[in-house]
Structures are given as C-alpha cells and as structure tokens.
Amino acid sequence: MTIAFYVFASVALLGAILAVQVTNLVRAVFGLLLFFGALAGLFLLLMAEFLAAVQILVYVGAVGILMLFAIMLTQRVTGDDRRGGGSRGGFWGFLLAIATFCFVLLPVLRDAHLHEQSATGASLTTKLLGERLMDPYALTLEVTALLLTAALLGAIVVAKGTSEDGEGEENE
C-alpha cells in the first residue's frame, strides 16, 4: 500500500505538472491522461473500484478524446502552442498558487485528528452504490441526467455555429 501510494502519487504529480507546463498541447493532454490514470489507481487503493472504473471510462476514454478533437479543430496538427508565448503573469500565478497551497493545507497540518484516523475496513460494493443511487439520491440522479442531456444539446448548438462548415461536437 505504501509503495503503491508513492508510485501513484508521483505519477499523478508528474502528469499534472506535464499537463500544465508543456507547450505542445497534445503532449499536455497525454500528461493529463497520465494524471487521470494515476488517480484511478489511487481510487483503487482507497477501495473505490467502481469509481476507478468510471474515472478511466469517463476521463481517459471520453474527456481525453474530446480534448484531442478540440485541439485538432483549433490548433495546428502538431499541437504546438508557441505562438501565444505560452504563459503570462507567471510570477504572480505561482505566488498565488503557493499561497493557496499554504492556506488549504494549514488547517490540515494543525488538525491533530487526521493523523489518528485509520482506514475503515468497508469496501465499496457496486450493489450498495446502486441502491444508494436509487434510494436517497434518485432526484440527484435524474437532475444529473437532465444536465447531461442539456449539456449535450448545448455543446452541439454552440459548436455547430451558424456557418455551414460546422459539424456537431463529438460527445460521449
């Protein structure tokens, strides 16, 4: 568990850093996919195997492909992003991010309870998850379905535009 955690954590950090720092957009997306994959591994470590599967299915399978399509439609094929010079206000951005990091983490480090908590033995069974989705969260599920439908239609309308050349956005 310990070794696996550090492996997945370092891969996730590496992927995230690659995703936001690489100039080549396609490579950035693959960094992002590495990050998603490592996160799915962390979910597995936390015994949430259904969520790990959903994470790979939705993020690696759908979101990644969507992003690649968007890059292919808006960028040169090689995916290079050198025209815009890449970044802006780097110093202030980093400063703000580090400040946020300290701000987010300060309560964690001060709170002594966290160290004492130990993992509970329960595992996430898919059956229980399904029952929970039907019993207290049925309305939320319906609203999510509605939201996804609306997003699908909205994405098609927005991406299609008024011109002739537009074809519908790929969707999952």
Binding site: M1, V54, V63, L66, T74, G89, L129, L152, V158, E169
Partner: protein, 103 residues
C-alpha cells in the same frame, strides 16, 4: 502506513498545480485542463475522507465524486464547444485576446 494526511497533502498539491495552469497559461484548452485537475483533486479528497471517515455505509463521498465526474464531463463538453465557437470567431484560443467586452 499511509494516513489521511498523505492524501490531503497530495490533493492540495494537485489542486495548486491545476491552479497554476489556470492562472498562468494563455491557451483556453490548457485552462480547461487546469480546471479538470482541480476538480479531480477535490474528488480525491472526497474519496479519502469517505475511506478514513466513520460512516462508510452512507457512501456520501463516492456518490458525490460520481456526480462530480458526471458534471465535469458535461462541463468539458460545453467548455470545449465554447472554445471551438470562440476559435471560429477570433481565429485564436488565446484567452488574453478575448477582450471585445473591455470597451
């Protein structure tokens, strides 16, 4: 032994990396990538707190993460559609160039 604090620190680090991406990059697609990283860091926290928490039977953490993933997928679809629409209009996805509302 890996405790809850390891996961929290990792999630905070990932969140801040995403934040750096959103704040410092000009390309709209990279900004979206940064948002995705931040959302996923939050999901990691949900799962970790569920796992190390007391009431695991309620499954509130995984369920919240599940809904967050669904909403994030919708967000990406709409966001990328917007990026493509913007690109059609301005021939660029540089967020600094979108300033026609600036007066």
């Amino acid at each position: 032994m890996i405790g809850l604090e390891h996961f929290t620190i990792l999630a905070a680090l990932l969140f801040c990396i995403g934040l750096v991406g959103v704040l410092t990059r000009r390309n709209a697609i990279i900004v979206l990538i940064g948002i995705e990283i931040m959302l996923n860091a939050a999901n990691l926290n949900f799962i970790a707190f569920w796992r190390y928490g007391e009431n695991t039977e309620a499954l509130s953490g995984p369920l919240f993460a599940l809904f967050a993933i669904a909403v994030a997928a919708a967000e990406v679809a709409v966001g990328l559609a917007l990026v493509i629409a913007v690109y059609r209009h301005y021939r660029s996805v540089d967020v600094d160039k979108l300033k026609s509302l600036k007066g």
